[in-house]
């Protein structure tokens, strides 16, 4: 089966390609790029839309296994393809926790059988995510776990983290850690500061991120472990990361797409859809994250998709669950920055395509002959109104609800097959 996509604006951050042309897809891979004269079984006229590699999202939570009422791999993938995401790394903080080989294989199999997208499991760093005993990192790695994380609650005991990082380094495994000193802001629900005080809400201070990050960076340096810093939310964290990079620490940095879009004031009238952790920070932090993105210092922009049903969100702000559905809106959040001319298209796409692909070592995420044919066609200027009722995720807790967005996916192709069309 050959598919020809013609009349597209080809955009590939990996090669720097940004020009009009065609793509020939054959047997699930990209067979030719540019001026293609070959005959195909199916021809898609892109009508000038952008053809780019499908998005690779390094941080997605579903409820499978254990909380399928929130989201399954299948329902998450439905939202993903509508948002242009073709590969998802799913987090291990499920019930049961993904902390052994059988469970890693279970996720991979369920993904193959039920999901529209490619699914990659992340393994638990410690057994049961309890932060005490090391999980079987090497074996899980061998079964397809792409990195190891303690989920939303980082390992508290620095000694355990140090040993785990050292061990992971010896297995060439990546450790992902969300920088946070939990004891600062145990009851916190939004960014600490004047806004939280006025609203009578407990704060999550920025210092908690910096202290946690300082520890993680120092231990990564000491152990030689490759660290994926999970969801940086402040400008000062980027300064710490620059310093660590100068010292030669091997690290990757991710930012959640919603942190490029919202600040603490968006919590507004106790909007629980804007309750996320790390919380939306100050405007100066948001601007610093965008600057870091423009400077190419952000390796991965993630959706941080975290589905929560109404019974977890229709509560007083302090009692509502953290988390935002994000699979369908991450690309538009980035394209808003392109529209505003803050960043070029290829630079915006790199941290959702080639760069995360390189982190987890997969061949997709680029328009290259021989690469998997995971392609999206999108209109970067298409305005649309985000209404949560129209989202495809099983849980509709989107902070973008009611927002005007720009840029929308028209077609999503995975392994040469069209899996979504608008």
């Amino acid at each position: 089966m050959k598919t020809l996509i013609k009349n597209a604006r080809l955009a590939c951050p990996a090669s720097g390609l940004d020009e009009s042309g065609s793509l020939l897809l054959e047997d699930g891979i990209i067979a030719a790029i540019g001026d293609v004269s070959e005959q195909a079984d199916e021809t898609v006229d892109a009508g000038g839309l952008i053809a780019a590699p499908g998005l690779i999202d390094l941080r997605v939570k579903t409820g499978e296994p254990g909380a399928e009422q929130k989201e399954t791999l299948a329902t998450a993938s439905r939202a993903a393809v509508a948002g242009g995401v073709t590969s998802m790394v799913v987090m291990p903080d499920t019930d049961p926790v993904i902390d052994d080989v059988a469970l890693v294989q279970f996720i991979a199999n369920r993904g193959r059988e039920t999901a529209k997208t490619r699914i990659y499991p992340a393994g638990a760093l410690t057994k049961g995510l309890k932060g005490e005993a090391m999980a079987e990192i090497a074996m899980m790695s061998g079964s397809g776990a792409v990195f190891f994380t303690n989920g939303d609650l980082p390992v508290e005991n620095a000694s355990v983290l140090r040993r785990t990082m050292g061990y992971a380094a010896s297995c060439k495994a990546i450790v992902s850690s969300r920088p946070n000193e939990h004891s600062l802001g145990v009851n916190g629900v939004m960014n600490a500061g004047a806004q939280a005080a006025r609203m009578g809400l407990s704060g999550l201070p920025r210092e908690a991120e910096w202290i946690g990050l300082g520890r993680d960076l120092l231990l990564a340096e000491a152990t030689g472990c490759t660290l994926l810093v999970d969801q940086v939310s402040t400008g000062r964290s980027m300064e710490m990361i620059r310093e660590a990079r100068r010292r030669g620490v091997r690290l990757h940095v991710s930012v959640a797409a919603h942190h490029l879009f919202f600040n603490e004031l968006d919590v507004g009238d106790y909007l629980t859809y804007c309750k996320v952790n790390p919380p939306f920070r100050r405007e100066e932090d948001r601007q610093a994250l965008i600057d870091a993105l423009v400077a190419g210092e952000i390796d991965a922009v993630v959706s941080a998709h975290d589905p929560q049903p109404p019974e977890e969100k229709r509560l007083p702000f302090g009692e509502a669950a953290f988390g935002a559905a994000g699979l369908e809106t991450a690309l538009s959040a980035l394209l808003a920055l392109v529209q505003d001319e803050r960043i070029g298209l290829l630079d915006a796409l790199r941290p959702v395509t080639a760069s995360p692909a390189d982190i987890i070592g997969v061949p997709q995420g680029r328009l290259a002959v021989g690469a998997p044919a995971d392609i999206i066609l999108f209109d970067p200027n298409k305005p649309w109104l985000c209404e949560r009722e129209d989202l495809r995720s099983r849980s509709l807790n989107s902070p973008f609800d009611g927002r005007r967005m720009v840029g929308r996916v028209n077609r999503t192709i995975i392994a040469g097959e069209t899996v979504f069309e608008r």
């Binding site: 005080a197 006025r198 009238d269 229709r314």
Partner: protein
């Protein structure tokens, strides 16, 4: 009082936060409250403005004083009052706040008075009901009728608010009273100083309208026309907010000696219930400067005014 070419109407359906009110709104409520207060003092029963109306008192947090104050106010105006302390009942059984609101709404009350332990909890409920909602305290966010009754008590004691120096001392961080009262006084032109230990002082109090936030009580009280002490929750000794009650009293307790540094005719206030000997000396609390019992009296009057204004307003 009609002024040609100018008309004023109190346009709100709910009373959720002082932030929602203008200076005119507050003055309107205070004037009305004062009429009720004077009528009660003169031994008159007010007109039954709330006859055939139903007011529900829904208290998710224990409170004897505020709940009875609202209950008395509503009954004086002729309303049928149902008071529901639900601290432990249906909500614990898994019924959400919103389910509770929708159930009560179906019973078609004319006003619901709500206290809830979560900041923003009352606002959440107000979105789901068709009648007027009065916030009787939500978490550490707002307690608007307290802010109004404090303002009224001061206005009666001093004859004005504009230009007064008011010092509020205590656990500002956890106090919804401090937020509401500071905002109300600021709107009416008072200069509010907030005082408390650094551990109990939040950031950004300038956005509430406070002119300064300091930890030196002696400095804060200097020349104050009004000194308002806040209740110290004794749990604050746990969790490293404070070392001990006696150290707190030494630095932040209101004593006769300290009061001498305030203005000669300074008024002493406390929203109650008091911890005598922790934040305030008994002799001061019961002394001639104290208007603490008048605060309670004005509480009923303010709630009568608010209930009269809002009851029966519907979506």
């Amino acid at each position: 009082m009609a002024i040609p070419g100018y008309s004023y109407e109190f346009e709100h359906r709910h009373l959720l936060s002082i932030e929602d009110l203008s200076r005119l709104d507050i003055e309107h409520i205070l004037d009305l409250s004062e009429e009720f207060a004077e009528a009660t003092r003169a031994g008159h029963r007010p007109e039954p403005h709330l006859k055939n109306m139903t007011v529900i008192n829904l208290f998710f947090e224990n409170s004897t004083r505020t709940m009875s104050s609202f209950e008395i106010a509503a009954k004086r105006l002729g309303a049928d009052v149902v008071s529901m302390p639900v601290a432990a009942s249906s909500v614990k059984k898994g019924e959400t706040l919103i389910d509770t609101a929708m159930t009560l709404n179906a019973m078609a009350p004319d006003a619901i008075v709500i206290r809830h332990s979560a900041s923003g909890g009352v606002k959440l409920l107000s979105r789901k009901v068709d009648c007027a909602v009065i916030n009787a305290g939500d978490g550490t966010h707002q307690h608007p009728t307290q802010g109004l009754l404090d303002t009224l008590t001061i206005r009666r004691a001093k004859g004005r608010i504009e230009g007064l120096k008011v010092t509020i001392c205590g656990d500002i961080l956890h106090s919804r009273v401090a937020r509401s009262t500071t905002m109300a006084l600021h709107l009416l032109g008072a200069e509010v100083t907030l005082c408390g230990p650094a551990t109990l002082m939040p950031s950004g109090t300038d956005t509430w309208g406070a002119i300064r936030a300091i930890s030196d009580f002696d400095e804060a009280i200097e020349g104050a026309d009004v000194v308002m002490m806040l209740r110290l929750q004794l749990e604050r000794m746990n969790g490293a907010y404070l070392p001990s009650q006696r150290e707190y009293f030494r630095n932040f307790g209101l004593t006769a000696e300290r009061l001498e540094h305030a203005a000669p005719d300074a008024t002493v206030m406390h929203p109650g219930p008091m911890n005598r000997g922790v934040e305030i000396e008994s002799a001061i609390a019961d002394g001639e400067r104290s208007v603490i019992t008048e605060q309670v009296e004005m509480g009923v009057a303010v709630r009568e005014a608010v209930l009269k204004l809002l009851s029966g307003r519907r979506r």
